[in-house]
């Protein structure tokens, strides 16, 4: 995908989000929730402006990749392998939920590779189910492989 196509895809996904957010504004009744949505809209607009400015720059400047990866990587991890990826001493922070391994190294909710008492490098399928069922959390995470019991 060329750099300008990349930017176009990102702009399209941001416009999609802007549209959804504006639609939500009609249905939300509380002032605080409306303000949150308006704040989100202004952030999205800033991202759009940044992207549009990028189109004026030469194409040799590196463009950050879209945050959602569609392809499942073929890399396999055993539970033992995963323990190494605990986010300490320069190692990335990986966690696995339902046999898919995600990279949470730079995820804002995993500061210092810990999240509500859980340390990276392990299987948190049951904890995830008891807390985040129904929430669109996993779709935003970067996938780096699958868990295998081999």
């Amino acid at each position: 995908m060329s750099a300008s196509q990349n930017i176009r895809t990102q702009i399209q996904s941001i416009l999609f989000e802007v549209n959804n957010t504006m639609n939500l504004l009609y249905y939300v009744t509380s002032i605080e929730k409306k303000n949150n949505l308006l704040y989100k809209l202004s952030n999205l607009m800033n991202q759009l402006i940044a992207l549009i400015n990028l189109t004026e720059v030469k194409e040799t400047v590196p463009i950050p990749a879209p945050t959602q990866t569609a392809q499942l990587s073929q890399r396999l991890f055993t539970r033992n392998d995963l323990l190494k990826y605990n986010g300490k001493n320069g190692n990335p922070a990986y966690v696995t939920v339902n046999n898919i391994v995600y990279d949470v190294t730079n995820n804002s909710a995993w500061a210092a590779a810990t999240h509500f008492g859980l340390s990276a490098g392990k299987d948190y399928s049951s904890q995830f189910a008891s807390c985040h069922t129904g929430q669109h959390v996993l779709e935003r995470l970067k996938i780096v492989g699958r868990l295998t019991d081999g």
Binding site: E32, A111, A112, H115
Partner: protein
């Protein structure tokens, strides 16, 4: 009351006109000051100290204009059994109850005795159960009352639990270690004027707990560009040091503390998530120096 005819008038006159309305109503006897009970249970008294630090409104305004403080173990004049009698004088009347500190449940609640009543020890558990079910509104002030907090931290020998766990009725939760005086007094003011404020899924007022620290952090642009601090005292994002701003919902970046002077990030120390459920056990470690050096963020 001044007529409000423009947006400018709205901004400048609404607060004073509301206060004047309240004053007039109290003077005419149309609006009685409501009774207010502050119970301190298994805690550190941090929330009453924080309350005394209030600025807008301040404690004097609370005590003189807003409510009739019937009982507060740290501030009232009466002592001993006569103080406890005054506490129970609100039973059967309309009163608002604020509770700070968790509720100790082990050994029949004897880990926390708050006074003597009719010759017997009155435990925190008994007091909150008796008064909590009868109050018009119950405010759980501070993280210990809202969720167990430090009083309920591992190994929790006193069997401390949150106030909601011992009461069947709804409890408005105002977590924070301590709770910022504005959150407590602002919620109380809203109750006095307009009734219960809008609450989120965890029964916290949306007006104070509606947005995360991360979304309002002045260092957010560093986070977004992946510029992280390696040690305390650096001016950049402290995500790699373990900042819990992203998982904590309060307005600390805007309102700040000690009459709006400063807050942890403003002094280059990370947020430890003191107002989020799970504090302190689930927010540990508060500081980490052995994490990864990443590139870019999400």
């Amino acid at each position: 009351m001044d007529r409000i005819t423009s947006c400018y008038d709205y901004e400048t006159k609404i607060a004073s006109s509301l206060v004047n309305q309240v004053k007039k109503k109290i003077q005419n006897g149309d609006m009685k000051k409501r009774s207010f009970v502050w119970l301190e249970l298994t805690g550190c008294s941090g929330n009453i100290i924080s309350l005394l630090d209030g600025k807008n409104p301040d404690f004097k305004f609370l005590a003189v204009q807003m409510v009739d403080i019937v009982y507060d173990n740290s501030l009232m004049v009466k002592m001993g059994e006569s103080a406890i009698e005054q506490l129970f004088s609100v039973r059967g009347t309309d009163f608002i109850l604020a509770v700070e500190g968790a509720v100790a449940t082990n050994a029949n609640g004897l880990y926390n005795v708050i006074g003597m009543y009719k010759g017997k020890m009155l435990t925190a558990y008994e007091a909150v159960k008796m008064l909590g079910e009868e109050a018009s509104h119950v405010l759980a002030v501070g993280t210990c009352a809202s969720d167990g907090g430090i009083s309920a931290a591992r190994p929790n020998p006193a069997g401390c639990v949150s106030v909601q766990q011992v009461l069947k009725r709804k409890v408005i939760k105002l977590p924070g270690c301590p709770c910022n005086p504005d959150w407590c007094l602002g919620t109380l003011a809203h109750i006095l004027l307009y009734g219960e404020p809008e609450l989120d899924n965890f029964d916290r007022p949306m007006m104070f707990y509606g947005i995360s620290i991360h979304d309002r952090c002045p260092r957010r642009s560093y986070f977004d560009r992946g510029i992280f601090a390696g040690k305390l005292g650096e001016p950049t994002c402290m995500f790699k040091l373990g900042c819990r701003g992203p998982v904590t919902r309060t307005d600390c970046p805007i309102r700040r503390w000690n009459e709006y002077v400063n807050w942890p990030i403003g002094d280059s120390a990370p947020c430890i998530g003191c107002a989020q459920f799970g504090f302190p056990d689930l927010m540990e470690p508060f500081i980490s120096f052995d994490t990864t050096k990443g590139e870019g963020t999400e």
